[in-house]
Each structure stands twice: as structure tokens, then as C-alpha cells.
């Protein structure tokens, strides 16, 4: 007698507020999970970077050293290093444990909007308002970038790195994908200034949100549009978008204080998660679990699929 096939469970959405973290570092410019999702990193407008425990919400460490508000952060795969970028035009490589600045890299002509490690944390890529992406070597002691990608005609707003590809969204309304293996640059014209780009987890698609209040899912290889998601408000702010842990939903921040969940395939709005009154500025999805971080004003909220028990346990 064969066992019945398990019924495909409906994907769980992180719609229950687990906790709210008051960061006390001014406005939270960006909130990020670390590589394994156990820790939370918040970039504050008071020049500090804070490391939190995701499960308990306790502050673990504060990293200070930037000269102006911190705009983005990324953690290395082994949690040993962090890289941040700031309005003070610098990119800093941190040692996580000691909280010391390993390297402070200057070279950008304007504030640096986004920063990412590559897979092995051997290169840091930083995109700046000056329209360049700089590739910094973390292995050598050189203070010059390995390469400068200056093809963008306006500031870089968002940047993601996959195994051998760089996905770069620019204010000039184009999403550029640099394929290192092929030695090619693919430019997809979106038209409206890009606020956020990301790869899908199967890295076959790219997601890009733009200032025309639309999130678009494009096929990576052909550039054809697979889905268009709208309904949220994104007209002036650099808002994040992302895909859920199993690529089932598309998420985007909104200026109306909600996080919008769309079904990836159907394109229909699944959930409109009310976060608060102000703009939801940044969000980050847990790499494996249905767990979401949202940043609004000075606090970060952690959202989970199962509400009570976890929250009760923790509190």
C-alpha cells in the first residue's frame, strides 16, 4: 500500500510580528540578515552598525568607524567579516569578533549606496552615487580597486553578486548584468530609475523594482519579462524588494507603510502586511525560513510564519 503523497503545503508567509527591536541608532537605513540568518545587522543613520541576535533581539555588538550614515551592509559567508558602505564615500571591512576596522577603502566620489561580498568574500563590490561599481580585493593590501565598472550613466542604487555574475541596478533605468564567465555585459532597459535588484534563488531570473512603483521579474538569459508586480507605492525612496525563501512570492517595501506580497507566478497580491505608518525602508528575507525583517524609522520588526509560540517562548 503506497503512502499518499503529502499534500503540497501552502507556502507560509511571515505575517506575524515576532518582535520589534528599537535600534536606537537613528533611522535604520538598511536591515540585513547575515549569511545563515541567525543574526541581524542594522545600518543606522548615526554612523553606527549594530549586530543583533535574530532569535532574541538582543544587541550583540556595535561597530563604529564610519564618518556618516551607514547605508548598506553585507556579511561574509563564514560570518567572520562584514562590509559596510556609507555616505562618507568609504567602504569598510570589519572584523566581526573584534569590531575593528580591517580596511577602510576610499575611492568613490560620492556616497556609496550598496555593498556586497562575493561568494567567497574575496572581493567586495560597492556601488556608489558616482555611477561606478568598484571591486575591492579583500585578500591583498592594495587600496586600489581591482576594477572599476563605470558603464552606468547615473548613480548605482543596488547591487547583487552571484557565483559569477554581478547584477547592478542604476538610476539611469537600466539593470546591468556583468557575466564574468562569458565576458559579457547585458543591459536591460527598464526605463524608470532602479531602486533594488536581486537574483532569484535559482538565479534564473532577476527582480528589479523601480521608481514607477513596479517590480519586474525578468528572465535572466533573454531579458524577457516574466512578471510585473504593482500596487505598492515607490516613487521617491530607495526601497528594497526581494523574493521569499522558496521563490514563491515577491516582496516589496512600500511608501504607504506596508509590505506587499505577490504570488510570483500569478502576479496577484497575496498579502499586504501592515508594518506601520511611515515608509518601510528596508527589508530582508531569511535565507531558509519564512522570516522577514522590516525596517521602519528607527526600529526593526521581525516577522515569522508561526506567531505565538515562538514569540511567547522568546519573551
Amino acid at each position: 500500500m503506497a503512502f499518499p503523497q503529502p499534500r503540497p503545503q501552502a507556502p507560509q508567509l511571515p505575517q506575524h510580528l515576532l518582535r520589534t527591536i528599537e535600534c536606537q541608532q537613528g533611522a535604520v537605513r538598511a536591515v540585513r540578515f547575515n549569511a545563515d540568518g541567525n543574526y541581524v545587522l542594522t545600518c543606522g543613520s548615526d554612523k553606527s552598525l549594530k549586530l543583533w541576535s535574530a532569535s532574541r533581539g538582543t544587541l550583540l555588538k556595535t561597530y563604529t568607524g564610519h564618518g556618516y550614515e551607514v547605508l548598506d551592509v553585507d556579511s561574509s559567508y563564514d560570518n567572520s567579516q562584514l562590509c559596510t558602505c556609507s555616505s562618507d564615500k568609504t567602504v569598510i571591512l570589519w572584523d566581526v569578533a573584534s569590531g575593528q576596522v580591517t580596511r577602510k577603502l576610499r575611492g568613490h566620489a560620492g556616497k556609496v549606496n550598496c555593498v556586497q561580498f562575493n561568494e567567497e568574500a574575496t572581493v567586495m563590490l560597492s556601488g556608489s552615487i558616482d555611477g561606478t561599481v568598484r571591486c575591492w580585493d579583500t585578500r591583498s593590501r592594495r587600496y586600489e580597486p581591482i576594477q572599476i565598472l563605470d558603464e552606468a550613466q547615473d548613480g548605482i542604487s543596488s547591487l547583487k553578486v552571484s557565483e559569477h555574475e554581478l547584477l547592478i541596478g542604476s538610476v539611469d533605468g537600466r539593470v546591468r548584468r556583468y557575466d564574468l564567465r562569458m565576458g559579457q555585459l547585458h543591459v536591460d532597459f527598464i526605463g524608470s530609475p532602479i531602486t533594488c535588484v536581486c537574483f532569484s534563488r535559482d538565479s534564473q531570473c532577476t527582480l528589479s523594482s523601480s521608481l514607477d512603483s513596479t517590480v519586474r521579474l525578468l528572465d535572466k538569459s533573454s531579458g524577457e519579462m516574466l512578471g510585473e508586480y504593482s500596487g505598492h507605492v515607490n516613487k521617491g525612496y530607495k526601497l528594497d524588494c526581494c523574493l521569499s525563501d522558496k521563490d514563491t512570492h515577491v516582496l516589496s517595501c512600500s511608501e504607504d507603510g506596508h509590505v506587499y506580497f505577490w504570488d510570483l507566478v500569478e502576479g496577484s497580491l497575496t498579502l499586504k502586511l501592515p508594518v506601520g505608518k511611515a515608509v518601510v525602508q528596508s527589508l530582508s528575507f531569511h535565507p531558509t525560513e519564512p522570516r522577514l525583517l522590516t525596517a521602519m524609522e528607527g526600529h526593526v520588526q521581525v516577522w515569522g510564519a508561526e506567531p505565538e509560540d515562538a514569540a511567547v517562548e522568546d519573551s
Partner: protein
Amino acid sequence: MASDEDSDEDFVTYGTPLEPLEEDEPVRKPVPVHEQTVKDEKGRYKRFHGAFTGGFSAGYFNTVGSQEGWTPSTFVSSRQQKAEKPNVRPEDFMDEEDFSEHGIAPREIVTTDDFASGKKDQLKDKAKAVSSLAALIPGDTGLLEELIAPARSSIGVELLRKMGWKDGQGVGPRLKRKQRKQNDDAVKVYGCAFPPNGSEESEDDDEFAPENVSFAPKDVVPVDFTPKVDSHGLGYRGLNPLQALGGGSETGHINLFTLQSDRTTSLFGDRNSGQQRRGGIGGQAFGVGAMEEEDTDIYHKDSMSNYDNVLGGEEPGDGLYGWTAPQQDKNDGFESLVRSHCRSSSFSSFINLFVYPPPDLPRDYRPVHYFRPVVDSSTVSPIVAQALQASRGHLSQDAPQQGRHSLDSSQRCDMLGETPLQGPSSVFELLGSKDRERLNEIRRAATEQNKSALSSRFQSIAPQPDSHTQSQTSPTKSQASSETQMALKAWSGPTADASKTFKPFAENPQKQARYDLYINKLKQGNKDALESSLDSSMTEWERGRERDEFVRAALLYKPSNSSLSSRFTRSKHEDDTDSVEVTRDQENDVDDKQAAVKMKMFGKLTRETFEWHPDKLLCKRFNVPDPYPGSSTVGMPKVKRDKYSVFNFLTITDSSQVSRVAPSAPKPPSSSSTLPHLTPEVSNKKSRWDIPGQEPKDPLSAFLSETRSEVLAAKNQTDSPHAIATPEVPLKKQKKKDKEKHKAKKHKKEKKKKKNKKHKHKGKQKKRVEESNSSSDDTDSNSEDENRVVSTSELLQRSELIF
């Protein structure tokens, strides 16, 4: 074995014979291995107890102890016995047998070099001995040393002495005088047994000789086999700074090229200075040394008397006693020196000593020594001196000739037979006649002033005619004509050569041709050169400008400068400065893409693919093989393009197309045609979606324009920005209408675009905003968007939240 004694034959035996066996004796058993004994060098027994347990016994039963046992010695302070403790060497703790094993040589007492008389070069010894014989005080050199130093003679010398050899003699059989001449070569053999053949001959000769006397062979200085360790040329001996700087009076020309053998002969007291045999490589081909001031003497010092005229060895002289013979040379020594001086006339007063008053110093005497190598007749042999005097006379007595540095350029030019350079030789010739007059006047005035100042100091100076003010007051209105006159004057000289003059209008060949014509006419003295050389087809204004330019250029590059310019060479390759590096691939026009975006036709229309070269290190860091191995470019491939091209700044896309699709006719920079300006870009772009044979040009563009108009129509009807444009085929009439509407809209858009282009170089950001505005225009969200003229990038981070 036993039969050995019986046999008569002699056998050669090797080794020690075995003892003969006695029959009664029992057969000896061989000693077994374990009973064999090993003794050390001193006859002590060594016991072998297995290779794995340490080989032979050592110490006291293989221990470090002694017969008394191993008792650790009690500590005894050596503080009081410091002086008694000598330096301990490792050998003190070693067995004697082990010395050789560790490379320690047996020590014995030897006289150190300090006490032994220095071991000297044998050759030098001999030379010294010979020279001591020739010296004024014979045997003065080594006399004292010989008394003190221990006599050490080699066994060879002892043997020779035993055989009857005496110091100073040559080695070999005794020879008769006649014979010696022939057997000169045999004499040269040193320390070698002479073949018996020769000795027999000499004996035979003895019998027939009138005097029964034979002589020892002449001693020979052995050939010098000093290895050559330096990197000089053969025979070059380097400069002795003492000799070189010691002043030229003693040594005329420092000859750097003497063979070692020559030097050794010079040690012999210059025996053959009379012959003046100058070996080596001295002479003209080796130029002038850095230390030598003047080169004339080396070029003239040589004469034929320096060379041998006769083949063969040196004259043997009397050679009665070999080296022991008294000095034969009469040319050497003080006397001969004096004689040679007397022969050269100016030194006749050398002998009668006379005290001269100190010389009057000349007025231009500078108390600085000037090294001037002078050929001094005292150092040169009299024969050479004579020859020199007879032929050239470059001895110091001669009037000093002018060095080549004291000649001026024209003299040198004459000597070399060059044709003089064209152009004026003096600066004054470069001046215009007017200026020259003025200068002359000034000069005259100055001299007059001097005179007047000298004659009457207190008289007022007579007013000078001020030429300067005169020139200033000259009418300015006729300046242009005077300029042309000056140009005419400057160019009418016969010296100017058109080919050598500067070409100021080289960039514009036609203009340059006209200028050349003008210059040529000027040279011919043509008065209306300017007017006739200008192009009559040009406008009056252009001609006026060119006239001005030509006159000015003619004045600027007048032939006076050409004489100078002939001395310089112009660079062959002009700098390629008027080109700029531009990325080869440029993104296409935005309009079509925007249209495509509006229709949500992402894909081919919105995607462009370029070649991009990642840095090698970046590839390495990403663990990706370099996609372009061997290429050195990084980033987008660049091409050089004309810097001043209008296309660079106005329409980048078009210029890129022109460059890429070279033979096809370039599109006009601004899209004057309304419809199909999308098509060529798409088709020309190298994209992987392009199929080579296919030409999707026209149908696609038609389709695009159609759909575009549809979208517009739909907008007009529904007024909703997100209306989906379905590519249905509408009615033809409606389509036409739509098209017209679309055209009108297009015109509007183009105007805007032009405006944008104007501002393009001012700032990207502003343009971006405008563009986004213009795009939003079409989506009917005007009212909202027109208020936002803030830079989008600024907007992005503008999150002034309230706290």
C-alpha cells in the same frame, strides 16, 4: 712452491711469499673471525663487538668511565687559575686517531712569513740581479738583504752548481763564439737538457777553432707567463696617475701600450735605448686619453726610426760573458743624455750652469697650473727628436700651434671644406634695416656721450635725437601696410628657401597652398603678393581674415628664423592629440526602448549585450576562468575617435554606428524622419538574437509604429496608464488617424529631445530628470510628475524621517 728453488730460471715475484710448509707441521687452521684481532695505530687492541652494538670498543670498556669508576669530578673553581688555563681547542679533547677523520692537520713548527725573507717573484729577482750589475753602484739592491736573509736555494740550483754552473751564466753546453750566433735559439731554452747532438758539434768545433776556448751560453730572462687578469686590451697597462699628473715635462706622451716584456727590459737599464725599439700597440689608432689635454703630439710623435728595419733578433753585442759581461751600451747613462741634449740646439747651454733671474710674469699670467703635455727632448731619444725637428717640429721649443678649440666655427668650416650655412652670420643681419639704423644711432650716441663725458664733465649733454619716440609717433593707421612692407622686405632676400620654412597652415592644405603662393610672390618681390594669392571665390570677410593671417604668419616665420630652423629637426610623427578614447559599443537610443517598455515588450528590444573584459584578478577571485585570455583590455573595449567630432558630443549613438558600419551611409545625427529611426540601430547592433540571414528591419519597425500608435489611441480612450496594448490589427482608417496623431506627438517629443541634447553635457542628472519627466508625460501622469524636478538620485536617499 718448493720447486722454485730448484729451477734456474729467474722469476719475478710480487708480494711476500708464503712460508714454506714443513711436512711435519700440522696444517694450520685459519683463524676464525671472532678470534681475529684489530689493533689501532699504536698497537693497542681493539675489540670488535658487533656492528650493531657500536663497532670497536672505545673508552674504558665502552664507557666514559675509568678504572677508578665513573666518578663525577667535584667542582673546582678556576677563578684563581685563569692565567694557567690556556685556550682550549677541540683537539685537546680528541683522540689522535680521530684528527685525520675530522680534517685536522698535524701541526709542526714552521718559520712564518714574517721571519722568512719574502718569497719573491723569481723573474723579479733575476731582473733585479741583472740591474744591480748594470747600476752605478754594482750590487746595491739586494746586498743588505742577502747578508741578512737566509740563503735558500732550490735543489735545481744546487744541482746546477754541482755541475759547474755559476750564477749569472746561462744554462747549457759551452759554446764557441762563432757558434753562438747560430745557436741563439738553443740558448733560449732554460733549464732544459740540451740534446747531445749539439754538444758533440760544439766539441767538434772546439777542435777546429783557433782558440780552444768555449763560453758559457748567455743567460736569458725567462718568458714571462704572468696570467692576464684584467680586462684591458693586450699590452695595455692602464694609466699611472702619478705619472700622468706629475707634470708633462718629464714624460711627454704616456704610452699605455707596452708589453710586459718591454717593461722587463726597461728594468735592465734600457740597454737598447739607442735602438729605440718600441714594442707594443702604441700609436695613432688609439686616440687621445681623457687625461691628455692635447692630441697633436700623439698624432705626430711616431716616426720610422721607431721601427726595426731589419728582421731578426736583437744584436748579441759582444756577449763575451753572457750577462756577466760589462755594460756595452754607450748611449745610456748621464753622458749620453748630455750628448743628446747638446745635439738639440736649444739645450746647448745646459752644461754651463748659469743662474737665471726669475722670469717676468706676463700680464695675463694666471697662477693656475695647466697640464700641457710637452714633448721633451730629454725623454725622447735623440734620433726621434731629430726626426721630429726635421719633419714637423712639434717639440716644445717650437712656437705653440693653435689648438682646434681656439679656432672659430668659420675657420673650422674652411679647414673641413664645408659650404657655409645659409643665412646671416651675425645677429645684426637678422634685424630689419630700420632697426639696424636705430641700433647704430644708439651706439653712436653712446660713444658720443662717452666722449662728451670725458671732454667736459660738467657740460650738459646735447639732446639726442630720440629714435624711439619717433618710431612711436609713426602713424598707426598705416600699420597694416607697413607690415606688408616689412614682410616683403623680410622675404625678398635670396636666402629663404620655401621648403625649409615653417608651414603654419599645414592642417588646411588649400590654405597652405595659398600661403605658399603668397610667400613665393613675396620672395620675388611682388608688391601685390597678398591680394593676388588669395582665393577670389571666397567672401570678402574670409579674405580679409586670411590676409591678416598671412601677413602675420609671414612676419612671424620670416626667413631669418629659417636659418635657425635649419639647425633643428622637426618631429616626424605629429602627436595624435586630437583624438579621444571612446568606448566602442554605445547603448542605443532610449526612445525605442522606452516605447518597448511601455508596451511591456521586454526582451530583444530592451536588452543589449556588449563585450566586457573583466580584470584578470577579478576572475581569479571569482574562481572563473578568464573569458578573454591574452587580451589586455579591461572593461569595455575602447576605440580612438576624433576629439573634435561633433558627433562625440551631440549624438554618441550615431557616431558609433557610423564607425561600426563604415561603408553604409551615416544616418543624420538628429532623427529627421519620424518613423523608422528605430530600425537601423536594432539591426546594426551585434546581438546574439540576430540571425545572420534574417532581416527583421521593416516588418518590425512597421509593427512597432503600429503598436505605438495603438497604445496612444488606447490611452486617449481609456486614460489609464496601465492599459494593456494588445497587438490586434485595427481598422485601416483608424490606423491612419492614429498615425497622424502619433506624428504630432512625435514632433513634440523631438523638440523635447533636442532640448535634452543641448543640456546633455551640462549634467547627466538633470537630463535624467527631464527624461523621466518626458517619459511620464506619455503615461498621462503629468500632474504629479511635473512638480518633481529634484534629482532622482537625491530622491532615492531622501528619507528624512521624523524622530
